[in-house]
């Protein structure tokens, strides 16, 4: 909103006032103003939530009180548009720089340093290894890349941060990783920071290739549980890395209303490549990598639904998965089905899915939901409606059908991924809405 307001004022020359929700307006007034637009903007505020309310409620907001400044909202709008600039608003040029942290912190007690890291929100609030120079240097020996090499520039609210190999090593140490994990974490760093939304966005990380066995990533029993060091520390490193590199601070610029417990570990596991049915390729080879390549793949989503019990003959397993998929947003057709090798075998042997791709295509053709269910989701509203109104099919046509009309929202079968992991103890699976990005070759970071 601030960007648009700035654009209207500077490019079109029209005085502008931003109408924000009262849950976020102070962030807009302060942080965005100082670090994002670089320009003072005027705001009024209405109560939250705004969307999903009866129109009478929204009308009440407009005729009601300005939650930021007091007084009637519309009077606030008129005042913001017409009153002369204050002295503070006439200040031009870039805002004063935020205080700069030194590369090396001054000496202090361990307790004080831990308190400092917590206060700065540089951790996940679990116990961290304090990143001494000695420990960080040891971590850096896990890669041939130089400490000052810039992996990427992370765009944060109001700026950009070059993310160096050394900074990733700091997070790796803090998470409890060992130098042999470091190339995996560096590859993950190319995908940092993790998702940050007002809803409970999270990530899923999949390890493929021989490195899974070499570093003892878990792809067997409890692959997705707290029973393996590599899964635990590498997943955690992505969290710490994302929080520090992405400048994510609770209530300042991290605004997930409920948050997500997935963000502690980012659902990191390895694919059980040894137990894939014949013809079912590992995730990384589906993406075009060689089987011997070591690859880490990061997905972004919100939802994971467990099968709870094992598969039954009464109702084929892929039917149940399809039914669960109806609960997903289908945003961008994204879904990732995580299944035990026994389920994969069942799908091939009992139901004839010779490849993962066949199964993905079946889901694309058979997972249906009502148009009302589809359009009733906030993510779909914000992401898809603008494109539908511009004529993009099939969304433009779906906007015109009655709410109860069944549609097939997973239009792109390539966005439906199948990953096999687990210990062959029970025929269980998860249906998730994680959209997988292209994998990153770990070997490039060794």
């Amino acid at each position: 909103m601030s960007r648009w307001a700035k654009q209207i004022e500077t490019q079109v020359g029209i005085p502008t006032v931003c109408v924000a929700m009262d849950n976020i307006v102070h962030y807009a007034v302060t942080y965005i103003r100082e670090y994002y637009t670089g320009m003072p903007l005027r705001f009024v505020a209405v109560p939250f939530p705004f969307t999903g309310q009866p129109k009478s409620v929204d009308v009440g907001y407009v005729t009601g009180k300005d939650m930021l400044n007091g007084g009637p909202l519309m009077a606030g709008v008129v005042s913001a548009l017409t009153s002369p600039l204050t002295a503070n608003e006439k200040i031009s040029g870039a805002p004063a720089n935020e205080s700069v942290e030194p590369r090396l912190l001054p000496p202090d007690t361990e307790d004080n340093l831990r308190a400092l890291f917590d206060a700065k929100e540089w951790s996940d609030y679990n116990w961290i290894n304090l990143p001494t120079e000695k420990k960080v240097m040891a971590m850096l020996r896990g890669t041939s890349h130089k400490p000052d090499e810039i992996i990427k520039t992370v765009t944060i609210t109001g700026g950009a941060r070059p993310l160096s190999v050394e900074k990733v090593a700091i997070s790796a140490v803090m998470a409890g990783a060992s130098p042999e994990h470091f190339p995996v974490i560096l590859a993950l760093a190319t995908q940092a920071p993790f998702g940050n939304s007002t809803s409970s966005m999270a990530n899923m990380v999949v390890i493929n290739g021989p490195i899974g066995k070499k570093l003892n990533f878990n792809s067997g029993t409890n692959a997705m549980g707290p029973y393996n060091r590599s899964n635990a520390v590498v997943g955690r490193a992505f969290t710490i890395l994302s929080k520090t590199a992405g400048d994510l601070r609770n209530g300042i610029n991290a605004w997930e209303s409920l948050g997500s417990n997935f963000q502690y570990n980012n659902i990191l596991y390895a694919e059980n490549e040894d137990n894939l049915p014949d013809g079912w390729k590992p995730l990384h080879t589906q993406m075009g990598f060689n089987p011997d390549d070591n690859v880490v793949t990061v997905g972004t989503g919100w939802t994971s639904i467990s099968s709870v019990g094992g598969s039954q003959e009464l109702y084929p397993v892929h039917y149940l998965m399809r039914d669960y998929m109806r609960s997903l947003t289908a945003s961008g057709s994204a879904a990732t089905i995580v299944m035990d090798p026994t389920v994969a075998g069942l799908l091939q042997n009992a139901h004839g899915f010779k490849t993962k791709e066949q199964l993905s295509e079946w889901f694309s053709q058979n997972a249906e939901k009502t148009a009302g269910n589809y359009w009733g989701n906030g993510v779909i509203q914000s992401m898809v409606v603008p494109l539908a109104l511009q004529g993009l099919e099939p969304y433009a046509s779906w906007r015109k059908v009655p709410n109860e009309t069944m549609i097939k929202p997973f239009t792109n079968s390539r966005a439906i991924h199948i990953v096999v992991t687990g210990g062959k103890i029970q025929t269980t699976w998860f249906v998730t809405d994680f959209g997988m990005r292209r994998g990153v070759k770990i070997d490039d970071w060794a």
Partner: protein
């Protein structure tokens, strides 16, 4: 007792901050650069290095042929919504590229684009500076390399060839689509 071992040796993770405060968001300059390229297809000399050379380009002529043949093509305007509203290729949809924001923030929107059609991104810039990064991001999302391309010369080239446009800045009576 002070942690002497840590003295002077603790690497503050927010040694990240200096860059964060020194690198303010740059104003989007695509409009200005595009103006300089209006005299030719792309305004570039043969020796000038093409940005994003690995991103495949498609000519305006090829896209026009595909549209006329009712081919499966989706055209995406990467300019901001105001510029899109003012003028865009007829039937193009708008997914803005903002250089101040990590392009991966657009993932949820980009994934809405169909997986079974040719997708052509364009910008109002001479060398596809804004459209080419979107093509790369589509690859990251799993779209096939030959399925996503950048329009060579962008909107300027399209306009030069007199191909159909839409938008509020067009003379009255010539607007192909109400905005």
């Amino acid at each position: 007792m002070k942690a002497q071992i840590l003295a002077g040796a603790l690497l503050g993770s927010l040694a990240l901050l200096p860059a964060a405060v020194s690198a303010r968001p740059l104003p989007k300059n695509a409009r200005q650069t595009s103006d300089s390229g209006k005299s030719g297809n792309s305004g570039s000399s043969a020796k000038e290095k093409l940005p994003f050379p690995n991103v495949p380009r498609i000519t305006a002529e090829e896209v026009e042929k595909l549209i006329k043949a009712k081919g499966d093509v989706v055209i995406v305007d990467t300019d901001d919504s105001m510029s899109y509203g003012a003028e865009h290729i007829k039937d193009a949809v708008n997914i803005a590229y903002d250089p101040t924001v990590d392009v991966s923030n657009e993932d949820q929107t980009l994934q809405v684009l169909p997986g079974n059609k040719l997708i052509v991104f364009y910008c109002n810039c001479p060398h596809e500076e804004d459209s080419a990064p979107m093509v790369q991001e589509m690859w990251q999302l799993g779209y096939a390399h030959n399925q996503v391309k950048a329009l060579q010369g962008g909107l300027t080239r399209w306009e030069q060839l007199g191909y159909p446009l839409a938008g509020t800045d067009l003379p009255k009576g010539t607007q192909e689509k109400g905005e």
